[in-house]
């Protein structure tokens, strides 16, 4: 995808830098590839150093001058945002595009979900997203330019039993991002929210939704309906550049957004409850 030079280069000719969290796999990794291909310098932040090393090797091999820096960090820790900020400052990196993509979900009965895991999920999905938006958003506002893309989910459009805390966390991201977009727009900072639906990444397995040998089991169906993360990243990248505030990749997800308002909550809840009955067993720790 050919991108206008003004998006990729600053007025002084240097490359713009995109900072992407959860860059090691899934949508984050695809976004790194997308931004890199368009000519951006990158800061890829993620939990697993091995994934980051692979990614850097892959991107450096195709580089035409782009600088790729990797930062291994547990973004679910309380001081994670400060660590990312410090890393950028120490390396003299000015972030032009911030993508808050890191996050995970947990499916299962609320009363059975381990508190420590829920804490991690809230710390990552809610606190770190807010803290990074705060830190980098502040600098962008001062400069009068910049972009922030926060990743929510179509799960934020309706209440979902057995996904209660995760859905709540994405409703937070959605609401927060739309409000922030309104606040920062007069300062030349563009903020948008991406709403992927089910996407073919590690998300489903981490959450406890697994494919089984039976092709028509709920787990297999959900995996089967999952969207390609490359396509989600393509939509996110393009949507942000085009100035959209609410970026919904794929026709099915767009239809979901439009129709959900017309369907009463009671119907949604009954359908989901039926679907998720199998996941009423407590989550087990996977290898």
């Amino acid at each position: 995808m050919k991108v206008d030079r003004q998006y990729v280069r600053r007025p002084d000719g240097t490359r713009r830098t995109a900072l992407i969290t959860g860059a090691g796999s899934g949508i984050g990794r695809e976004l790194c590839r997308r931004y890199h291909a368009a000519g951006f310098d990158l800061v890829a932040a993620s939990l697993l150093g091995s994934e980051l090393a692979c990614l850097k090797e892959e991107l450096d091999a195709k580089s035409s001058g782009q600088h790729v820096r990797v930062f291994q960090v547990d973004l679910a820790q309380a001081d994670a945002a400060q660590a990312v900020l410090d890393f950028c400052d120490e390396n003299g990196i000015r972030v032009d595009v911030l993508v808050n993509n890191a996050g995970f979900g947990l499916a299962g009965r609320f009363v059975d979900q381990p508190m420590s895991r829920l804490r991690e999920m809230l710390a990552l999905n809610v606190v770190t997203t807010t803290a990074l938006s705060h830190a980098f958003g502040g600098r962008m506002r001062q400069r009068g330019s910049g972009m922030i893309l926060n990743v929510a989910s179509t799960i934020a459009f309706q209440p979902l039993p057995f996904w209660a805390v995760y859905a709540g966390s994405k409703a937070y991201v959605s609401s927060f991002t739309q409000a922030l977009a309104g606040e920062l727009r007069p300062f030349g900072v563009h903020v948008a929210c991406l709403y992927p639906g089910t996407t073919a990444t590690r998300f489903l397995d981490t959450a406890g939704i697994h494919k089984s040998v039976r092709p028509w089991s709920v787990g297999s169906l959900i995996h089967g309906a999952a969207m390609d993360p490359e396509l989600v990243a393509h939509c996110g990248f393009g949507g942000l550049l085009r100035g959209g505030r609410r970026i919904i990749p794929g026709l099915i997800n767009k239809l979901h957004f439009i129709l959900i308002k017309l369907i009463p909550n009671s119907v949604i809840l009954a359908v989901v409850h039926g679907f998720m009955k199998r996941y009423r067993q407590p989550n087990e720790e996977r290898r």
Binding site: R109, F110, V111, Q113, M115, L118, R119, L122, V126, V127, T130, A131, S133, H134, G137, G138, R141, A156, P159, L160, P161, F162, W163, A164, V165, A167, G168, S169, A171, Y172, V173, S174, S175, F176, T177, Q178, A179, L180, A181, G182, E183, L184, R245, R246, K261, N265, L269, H273
Partner: protein, 260 residues
């Protein structure tokens, strides 16, 4: 509310506002109380007043629920005192008004810690115990602001969007365990909320202003009747209803216009 007689309710943020009003209404219904907040003197005064007027027991627990330590202290204290909680009123919360960037990281962290994290863990801890007994009531305090994002109240409204989605999902999940989860969505209420947040109320918002006592009664009646959502007051109901009709892309700009 007679269904609450003889039971024990834990009320967070009980030192003022809707929390204190819920405590008063529950006391009138004959419910024993466990009051949690930061301001011990206020809790002590409330305990004295309620025990003096009603034939109930009131325990007071001082805790800063915006921190993990405070949340754990509260849970430990209820365990140590052998208190079986039948009703959980998750009322503690605060807001701010102003641009997001100029808020301090600390303040935002406290707000998320209180409005989201502590609320979630108290709900899980006591909800699990209630599910085992196959009976219980949990009230979650969201807000009309949970239905719409609003510039200048970005994080607060987002925390309330979280509570709204959590509450409606848990209402359904916990119903089969005999536990009622009700989400309360007050609008502007005459409490200390606005002196803490720093917001000045314009004429439009003043029109919707309710007393904390009226909100508390509506909330507890809804809880007693097993409702999923309680939006107290005609003006607030109208607000929520009109928000549902509004295209989502207009929500943030319209809210900003109306509120400020």
């Amino acid at each position: 509310m007679r269904v609450f007689a003889g039971k024990t309710a834990l009320v967070t943020g009980a030192s003022s506002g809707i929390g204190a009003a819920c405590a008063g209404a529950l006391a009138t219904a004959g419910c024993h109380l466990v009051l949690a907040a930061r301001r011990e003197e206020r809790l002590a005064a409330l305990k004295e007043a309620l025990e003096g007027t009603h034939a109930i027991r009131v325990e007071v627990i001082r805790a800063d629920l915006s921190t993990r330590q405070g949340c754990e202290d509260l849970i430990r204290a209820t365990d140590e005192k052998g208190l079986a909680i039948d009703i959980l009123i998750n009322n503690a919360g605060f807001g701010y008004e102003g641009d997001f960037i100029s808020q301090s990281d600390e303040r935002l962290g406290e707000m998320i810690g209180l409005n989201i994290t502590t609320l979630t863990f108290l709900t899980q801890h006591f909800g699990t115990l209630m599910a085992r007994r196959h009976s219980g009531y949990i009230l979650l305090t969201s807000s009309v602001g949970g239905f719409t994002p609003c510039p200048r109240i970005a994080v607060y409204d987002a925390t309330k969007a979280y509570v709204l989605l959590l509450g409606e999902a848990l209402h359904h999940e916990l119903r089969i365990h005999g536990v009622t989860v009700t989400t309360l969505c007050p609008g502007a209420t005459a409490t200390e909320f606005f002196s803490v947040s720093g917001q000045r109320l314009n004429a439009l918002v003043r029109m919707t202003l309710m007393s904390p006592q009226a909100v508390a009664v509506k909330a507890l009646k809804g809880l007693a009747h097993g409702r999923s959502l309680v939006v107290p007051g005609v003006m607030n109901k109208l607000t929520v209803w009109s928000l549902r009709l509004l295209p989502r892309s207009l929500m943030a700009p319209v809210s900003a216009r109306v509120m400020f």
